[in-house]
Subunit: 121 residues, 2 copies
DNA sequence: CAGTTAAGATTACAGGTGTAATCTTAACTT
DNA sequence: AAGTTAAGATTACACCTGTAATCTTAACTG
């Protein structure tokens, strides 16, 4: 229930959010950039099942895995955790930090201003 | 060298960034909201020394601790890590997520727009 | 000086994580 | 049917972390 997704497991989640259900072999393939041993990926899948963050359907002797949690929801939680942990909940400071330390194109800046206007209602 | 600051240790860092050098007892006091046993805080200080993220001066039989890393730098690293991990480096998406999911006051929105304008140069 | 404190050092211990190797066994092959 | 594969299950193991308790010993107290 309360068990969370580790950093490595998150890569697996991303794969399944992209497309599912997938066999472990397919997950392994889509993660080859990570350069993990197949056994390692299997371990992650196993643990994630136990944690309940993914589920599976059986297909013959193999499992087809799928996510049990929404990406949006997950991002939300991670974001809030980060906000609290690093910025003590101060969104303004967080936003300022990113705006000032990351190069943003004119298009992106405009887009963000539009967003702020929309928020202003 | 490469060892990082854990979540609990970060609370200790915050205290020392606020004011330093401090004795372990002073650190414990400033962390009473955390409701940690004194021994626990001492453990953190000890580990942080070993990790090299804080240092100390001796004063009689006790140590006075101080940070070895800058808060700004730390925030930067944490922020970049989070950006990459959760948003795959897409700052725009990150900013949009926070702007849209957090309640921001008119003042904050105005301030942020000013920031964006400044970025626009 | 002898006893008591209390500071830091060391040890403890379980749960999570990264990183696999080995075990079991159902399914595929010949 | 017998052998081979390969999928998931189990086991391994070290390091990190949270959470302290115990050990040593220098400093303070009377």
């Amino acid at each position: 229930m309360s068990n969370r997704v580790s950093e490595s497991e998150q890569f697996v989640m991303e794969v399944l959010w992209q497309e599912s259900p997938l066999s472990s072999q397919e997950v392994v393939e889509r993660l080859k950039a990570q350069d993990w041993n197949e056994k390692t990926v299997k371990t992650f899948l196993n643990r994630m099942i136990k944690k309940g963050v993914i589920g599976f359907e059986t297909q013959g002797r193999k499992y087809l895995y799928y996510p049990n949690i929404e990406r949006e929801e997950f991002i939300q939680q991670e974001s809030n955790g980060f906000l609290d942990k690093v910025f003590k909940g101060n969104v303004k400071e967080l936003l300022a930090t990113f705006v000032q330390n990351k190069q943003l194109s004119k298009q992106e800046l405009d887009y963000l201003k539009t967003l702020l206007d929309k928020e202003q209602g």
